[in-house]
């Protein structure tokens, strides 16, 4: 069925779907009003903010991540990536669910490389039936793959493992920060980071809008293998439709 989709604005939606496991709706029926009903006004306890964060559910979202890896004072690697799910148009103009993964990372080069650092990029679109993969020559390669269960982002963090939670209201923003003991790192991170071994000194900060607790960002700080890592997730609504790239 060809359906008309609605562009949801940033102010209308709490974006990240943390802890939820509901599949993406087949059409965009989540209205501004229904999303807003999740929110309460005048939150002033950090636990309340987190509760909203963890229980929120949205079908369409964009989440991005940037990170910096330092050795001493030197930045030795960095990267940025994003994941986005939306209803877009396929080649025939019909609505289709699309998940777009894209990112780049810059890491130390081997001695066989020209540059001190090498940057790699990726861009992958998943539609219900196909995958579009960016190749080195700039063109997309299409392969037939079934993706019947394109799902929203599931926030993996187990904030109950946080310690020393503090919240700071800064006029228009609420920052909720805390730390995680080394013993609880693995539980806290869930599947957010693939290799959790050796992570120490983990702390985090979540930034909400002060009013209505719109989640704005989540930052992690930790040490591993002699490197200091800072990573920030940002959440937003998708405010423009996605189209599949030309193959």
């Amino acid at each position: 069925m060809k359906s008309k989709y609605i562009l949801l604005t940033f102010s209308s939606l709490l974006l990240a779907s943390c802890g939820g496991n509901s599949p993406v709706a087949s059409s965009v029926l989540e209205s501004k009003q229904s999303e807003s009903s999740l929110l309460s006004s005048g939150l002033d306890e950090s636990s309340d903010y987190i509760a909203v964060f963890e229980s929120s559910n949205a079908s369409f979202y964009r989440i991005s991540s940037t990170y910096t890896i330092k050795s001493g004072a030197s930045v030795v690697a960095n990267g940025e990536s994003a994941k986005q799910v939306y209803v877009g148009a396929d080649a025939e103009g019909f609505d289709t669910k699309i998940e777009w993964l894209r990112g780049s990372k810059t890491t130390p080069a081997g001695l066989e490389d020209n540059d001190v650092y090498v940057t790699t990029r990726y861009s992958i679109y998943h539609s219900v039936s196909e995958t579009y993969t960016l190749q080195e020559n700039g063109a997309y390669k299409v392969t037939a793959e079934e993706h019947p269960n394109i799902v929203p982002y599931a926030c993996p963090f187990l904030f109950s493992k946080g310690e020393g939670i503090k919240n700071t209201l800064n006029r228009f923003e609420m920052n909720v920060s805390g730390r995680v003991s080394d013993a609880n790192v693995s539980s806290f991170l869930g599947n957010a980071i693939s290799s959790k071994e050796g992570i120490k000194d983990l702390s985090f900060t979540i930034t909400f809008s002060a009013k209505e607790a719109y989640l704005k960002s989540l930052s992690l700080f930790f040490n591993k293998d002699g490197f200091a890592v800072s990573q920030t997730y940002r959440f937003s609504s998708t405010n423009s439709p996605l189209s599949l790239p030309k193959a």
């Binding site: 890896i69 050795s71 030795v76 690697a77 130390p108 080069a109 001695l111 020209n114 540059d115």
Partner: protein, 1004 residues
């Protein structure tokens, strides 16, 4: 971006030119005493001056000429004249004040005067060890200029002019030609020509063949209009030649200086201008020393032309060429380019080439009708060809005294005006013989014949090769050819054996074995035994000195070792052999190279250059402009010097017209290509192909000087332009230095353009040179309309003049152009530009709607362009991509602040202290002399605590270590241990950081 190693795993390397970087020291190559050094350098200077050739007749100097400023071994020449009022030397300098050449101005005196020109050669830092050479020149007196009105009207008779017309000084002629000023090729005929023939009149032009790299031309206005000559007009005259000549051309031009019609008369035959080039009209050569009368009709408006030569035996004209009625029509035969129009000038052309003979023209006349019964200026008697003898003969030593075959009285001497007549010895002619021993086994006889009636002489030579009855046969020369296909059979072919033998009656035996088989014995070769690896054997009895024998058919898929021996009852020769005979064709001479470029039968073959080639005295006869090369050429690191190819009319000019194949591992020194468009050293047009390890040092690709139109454009050092939908061209390790491009439009140091659909991959490019054009689209690549990637490039582009669209990488990037540049340093200097806002350090003109570009790690040198305009506002389409940097002031700054840091700087890029910039030079691997110090300079700065700082140092140290000798490696054992530890730490650090980053990206 993967780093390119300096050595690129090649036998000839992309290396430095002996420039010692401040942090790198080389072992001294030369350790002789000062006196020995002086003598060595003096000897080099002597070689340099000995090699000088002024290239013209020093007895008859009438016009300015050019002499070199440098020679072999880098010797610098200083020229002085004994009489500056007659010969004045002027240095020609480049923008940096460096002497390029010297122009010698000629001021003709009132009487013929001898002037001495002295050249002194010296090598830098060894000025005391110089050498000199003198040239004695005779400068002819000035000739009064006639004041006849111009243009020349129809029915004007040249014989009205003074005898000894010196066109080089005649005001109504304009001299032109790329090297025309190098030689005086037209002079008066005032010598005794009794040995040739009588002169028909005193009004004779003598034209010496031009041995310069291009034609020399003399142009005179004319007036053959459709109104005046509706049925055309005739240019006729009498022609005679002596010696082998490149010939004289007569070209009729329209108001755009385009050739409407043209002919060429030479010792090899007649040619007609057709399809943009001269094509042969007859195979039979005209007779030497016989006046022939020619009549050349041109109907300019309709483009008809026809050459007629009077056959005196028949009493009528013979017409040459394709005929349409009595005419040759443009569309059929000749002027396929459609050049028509009134004839407003004609020009005499002294054709370039390797021959040194003379052509004579007499009684030139332009008329509406032409002569029907031309006067015969020839005598009735003259020595013609001589036959009935063998030029090379064997003679047994004991029979030398009675050797009848060297008695010239038995030879047949023909009358050249009537070859059926044979003169009688003593009554008609006398003959005398002299001889000299060339060697113990060779006598050269010279027989001189003198015709009694005219006194004219002719000499011929015979060589007698002496043997004794008991001598064993031997090879005086022996060559194994390559494996060639036999007809259309692709699976089998033959190998040709050729050479010279020492005596008659020997039997030549050969054997071919599969490559690597054990060598046979002489007896096995003679017997044709089927030894292990046997492929073929055969024999032939030889009676003449030279021989050429082909093998039986053998498989084309094998490589062979060849063996040959001469057998006789008196014994055998030594066994000669050549290993690894295959389909690869060896190029040993300039003729071999020319054959590669012109022989369609080998256009798909593989060639290798076996030694250096010098084309200084080779005339490249551009037979056609459609030759396709699909094969492979490996220069094996050799150098090709002074290659010169020129044509004002060919559609494509270069070694090949089209190149589809692979070409590389070669250096071109002072290559000069002149054309009207689509001109490049390797080919006028490149259709894909692989071009690697090509070094172009000096030289130029320019418009042919007599070509005056805009033409198609596309001039570049490697190729005029690249074409072909989907064709992939790769260009790696290309060095273009001190190069010059002068063209109407679309000019690139590398190529004039990459066309739509072409995929071009450039890697490790050094290009430095000047471009001078009145047109647009100028850069490393003139026009980019293809998909082009440039990795690792240094481009120093100096614009002498241009109209617009000047970009260091690409003049323009439009119409689907896709340009990606990674790692580049760009330096753009502009002397003049017509549209001063239309240039960019990266792209001169970019169309964002249709095209794209990326620039990664690109730097360009900030330049002050205020001299080209008071206020420069660059067009929005001009692209400056990358980082603007002030030119680094030191080698270290270049290395550290530009992409050069990523290269094996110590071996790939040298540093020019004088110019303060990196450049590239060739150097053999054996010349790289790194020592322990060079290694330590890098390892001592390795950080043992912070691996992230060691990337550059580890690369450099690794480079240097690979060149250290065993003894030098022993000296740095401790540093090597530190290096190894730091290398391990770096690899661990890079691995860990990479893995960490991998886990932080979403959804990867």
């Amino acid at each position: 971006m993967k780093r390119k190693n300096a050595l690129f795993a090649l036998s000839s390397l992309l290396l430095l030119g002996g420039v010692v970087a401040s942090s790198v020291s080389f072992s001294p190559v030369y350790a002789a005493s000062n006196s020995e050094q002086d003598e060595e350098f003096r000897s080099r200077c002597q070689s340099a001056v000995d090699a000088l050739n002024l290239g013209f007749d020093t007895e008859k100097v009438v016009a300015d000429f050019i002499v070199e400023a440098t020679g072999f071994y880098g010797a610098k020449f200083t020229w002085t004249s004994s009489n500056e009022s007659i010969l004045s030397v002027e240095q020609i300098l480049n923008e940096n004040g460096k002497a390029l050449r010297n122009r010698v101005h000629v001021f003709r005196p009132e009487v013929d005067t001898k002037v001495t020109l002295t050249v002194k050669a010296a090598i830098a830092n060894h000025e005391n060890a110089y050498a000199t050479r003198t040239f004695l020149l005779t400068v002819l007196k000035a000739v009064a200029i006639p004041e006849d009105s111009l243009p020349l009207e129809i029915n004007e008779d040249f014989s009205d002019y003074d005898a000894g017309l010196d066109l080089g000084d005649y005001y109504s002629y304009t001299q032109s030609g790329g090297e025309g000023f190098l030689s005086t090729i037209v002079d008066s005929s005032d010598e005794n020509l009794s040995n040739v023939n009588d002169m028909p009149s005193k009004h004779v032009l003598k034209v010496r063949s031009s041995v310069a790299s291009s034609d020399t031309r003399y142009t005179r206005k004319a007036n053959v209009s459709v109104a005046l000559a509706p049925k055309g007009a005739y240019l006729e005259g009498d022609y005679l030649y002596t010696g082998k000549t490149n010939g004289v051309g007569i070209e009729l031009l329209n108001s755009s200086n385009e050739i409407v019609s043209g002919i060429n008369l030479s010792s090899s035959g007649f040619k007609q201008y057709a399809s943009g080039v001269y094509t042969d009209l007859q195979e039979e050569a005209p007779k030497e020393g016989v006046w022939l009368h020619f009549k050349f009709l041109v109907r300019p408006k309709s483009g008809y032309n026809v050459l007629q030569v009077f056959d005196r035996a028949c009493g009528s004209y013979v017409t040459y060429g394709t005929k349409l009625g009595t005419f040759i029509k443009t569309s059929n035969a000749g002027l396929s380019s459609g050049k028509k129009g009134d004839v407003t000038s004609f020009r005499l052309v002294s054709s370039k080439g390797s021959a040194f003979g003379y052509s004579y023209l007499a009684n030139l006349k332009l008329s509406l009708t032409g002569s029907e019964a031309p006067k015969n200026y020839n005598r009735s008697n003259g020595i013609g060809f001589i036959d009935n003898y063998e030029p090379e003969i064997f003679a047994e030593k004991s029979g030398l005294e009675s050797l009848s075959s060297v008695d010239p009285k038995t030879f047949a001497v023909h009358n050249r005006f009537d070859e059926s007549k044979v003169y009688a010895v003593n009554s008609d002619y006398t003959v005398s013989t002299s001889s000299r021993m060339v060697s113990e086994t060779q006598i050269e006889y010279t027989h001189e014949f003198v015709l009694k009636e005219t006194g004219e002489k002719q000499s011929i030579q015979q060589n007698v090769f002496i043997y004794e009855e008991g001598d064993k046969p031997s090879f005086s020369a022996m060559k194994f050819g390559s494996l060639r296909k036999d007809g259309t059979d692709k699976t089998s072919g033959t190998i040709t054996f050729s050479g010279l033998v020492s005596r008659p009656g020997a039997t030549f035996h050969y054997m071919l074995l599969k490559k690597g088989s054990a060598a046979p014995t002489i007896e096995q070769v003679i017997a044709g035994d089927k030894v292990s690896g046997f492929a073929d054997a055969g024999s032939a009895t030889l009676y003449s000195r030279s021989f050429s024998i082909s093998s039986n058919l053998v498989s084309m898929s094998n490589n062979y070792d060849g063996y040959a021996v001469l057998y006789s009852e008196k014994g055998n020769s030594d066994l000669v052999s050549e290993q690894n005979i295959s389909t690869v064709i060896n190029i040993n001479t300039v003729d071999d190279f020319y054959a590669m470029a012109t022989d369609v039968n080998t256009a798909y073959d593989t060639f290798r250059l076996t030694n250096d080639l010098d084309f200084s005295s080779f005339y490249w006869n551009l037979k056609n402009d459609a030759f396709e090369f699909h094969g492979k050429f490996d220069g094996e690191g050799h150098t090709i010097s002074n290659l010169a190819i020129a044509s004002a009319t060919a559609a494509r000019v270069g070694i090949f017209s089209y190149c589809y194949g692979d070409f590389g591992n070669v250096t071109f020194e002072n290559a000069k290509i002149f054309g009207s468009g689509n001109a490049g050293i390797i080919a006028g047009n490149l259709y894909g192909g692989t071009y690697s390890d090509i070094h172009v040092l000096g030289g130029e690709v320019s418009v042919e000087p007599t070509f005056t139109g805009a033409g198609e454009g596309y001039f570049g050092a490697i190729g005029g332009r690249s074409r072909g939908e989907g064709k992939v061209g790769t260009y790696s390790n290309i060095e273009i230095d001190d190069f010059k491009i002068e063209c109407p439009k679309y000019c690139g140091l590398l190529t004039g353009g990459f066309e739509s659909g072409v995929i071009s991959k450039l890697d490790t490019i050094y290009a430095s040179g000047t471009i001078d054009t009145d047109g647009a689209a100028v850069g490393l690549i003139g026009r980019n309309r293809g998909d082009t990637t440039v990795n690792n490039a240094i481009v120093n582009l100096h614009i002498k003049d241009a109209k617009k669209e000047v970009g260091t990488i690409a003049g323009h990037n439009k119409e689907g152009g896709k340009l990606a540049v990674n790692n580049a340093i760009l330096d753009l200097k502009i002397d003049m530009i017509t549209q001063p806002g239309y240039f960019g350090s990266f792209i001169g003109s970019f169309d964002a709607a249709s095209s794209s570009y990326t620039a990664n790690n690109v730097s360009y040198i900030k330049e002050d362009y205020s001299h080209i305009s008071e206020s420069i506002t660059q067009d929005v389409k001009s692209i400056d991509a990358g980082d603007a940097i002030y030119k680094p002031s030191t080698k270290e700054a270049w290395e550290q602040k530009t992409f050069l840091r990523d290269f094996d700087v110590s071996t790939s890029f040298a540093y020019d202290e004088e110019e303060n910039k990196p450049y590239m030079r060739l150097r053999n691997e054996s010349e790289i002399k790194f020592v322990a110090f060079d290694y330590l300079a890098y390892t001592e700065n390795l950080s043992e605590t912070d691996p992230s700082k060691n990337h550059y140092l580890l690369i450099k140290a690794g480079n240097v270590y690979s060149y250290l000798s065993s003894s030098e490696k022993a000296k740095v054992a401790q540093a090597k241990a530190k290096y190894d530890a730091c290398l391990a730490a770096y690899n661990e650090y890079a691995k860990k950081a990479g893995e960490l980053a991998d886990g932080l990206n979403l959804g990867e």
